[in-house]
Symmetry: C2
Subunit: 123 residues, 2 copies
DNA sequence: GAACGATACATGCAGGCGCATCTAATGCAA
DNA sequence: TTGCATTAGATGCGCCTGCATGTATCGTTC
């Protein structure tokens, strides 16, 4: 129990730190930015901010800012939702897709390195 | 691999958030503060800042500030190390020990709740 | 023993996060 | 329609973090 917690803490710290460094230096992306891009690519469609919020481990306000940063970097575009004009959908741009594709191997490499010794984990 | 990472990410977010809330509201401690207190109690002796740094997943600067906060709250005391006058040792106070004892069940309860479904983890 | 690089901890600074709050749009009820 | 509670997302604020750097002490080399 406590051991599991310490394990999670250690892996999280190590991976987060490495991802921040590698993704930042090589691709100009933070872990949160990459995560959001990754989620959008994975679904391969417009997503509501709210949908992203359920999948990413960020508060709604943090997500709002991540999307703002991504938009400023021209990696995604925001548009109002016609069905519910309070809503905003996020759409990945070609440049965003390219940046994600470029960064993906870096992320995989970091995770492979760090979780090499990890016991296979159910779910 | 990626699944393991997502698992770590999810558990870390959930546990961290719950700990922040529970430890904060009930005992006036942040997760980092508790962690440091816990490490000291576990060793049951004076510890050098440096030793703590190896065990806690914080940068040296962050740790320095956590200790400063704990000292302000009178939960630990700082003293210069005679052997190496650059060094600082941290000593838990009676009040610190009491606060830790009081908070420990809260932490255990949170972790038990969150890792109830966790597969036993090697190491 | 004087000089210089290395080490321990503290601190200035910028950036990201969560909480609380704000604004705008929705929808339900009177 | 009008009024009000609810919801989506943006933003002000304070806190915590890491990085870079500052200050003091140590150890080694000449």
């Amino acid at each position: 129990m406590v051991d599991t917690w310490h394990y999670v803490l250690a892996k999280h710290a190590k991976a987060m730190c490495a991802l921040e460094r590698e993704l930042g230096d090589r691709h100009g992306l933070g872990p949160s930015e990459f995560e959001v891009l990754d989620r959008i690519v994975h679904h391969d469609r417009k997503l509501r901010i709210q949908e992203l919020c359920d999948e990413v481990h960020l508060s709604q306000s943090a997500l709002s800012r991540v999307v703002a940063r991504l938009e400023k970097a021209a990696l995604v575009s925001r548009g109002v939702c016609d069905a519910d004009r309070r809503g905003v959908f996020v759409c990945i741009t070609d440049e965003g897709r390219a940046r994600h594709a470029e960064a993906l191997p870096t992320q995989r490499a970091v995770l492979t390195e760090i979780f090499a010794d990890a016991p296979a984990l159910a779910r």
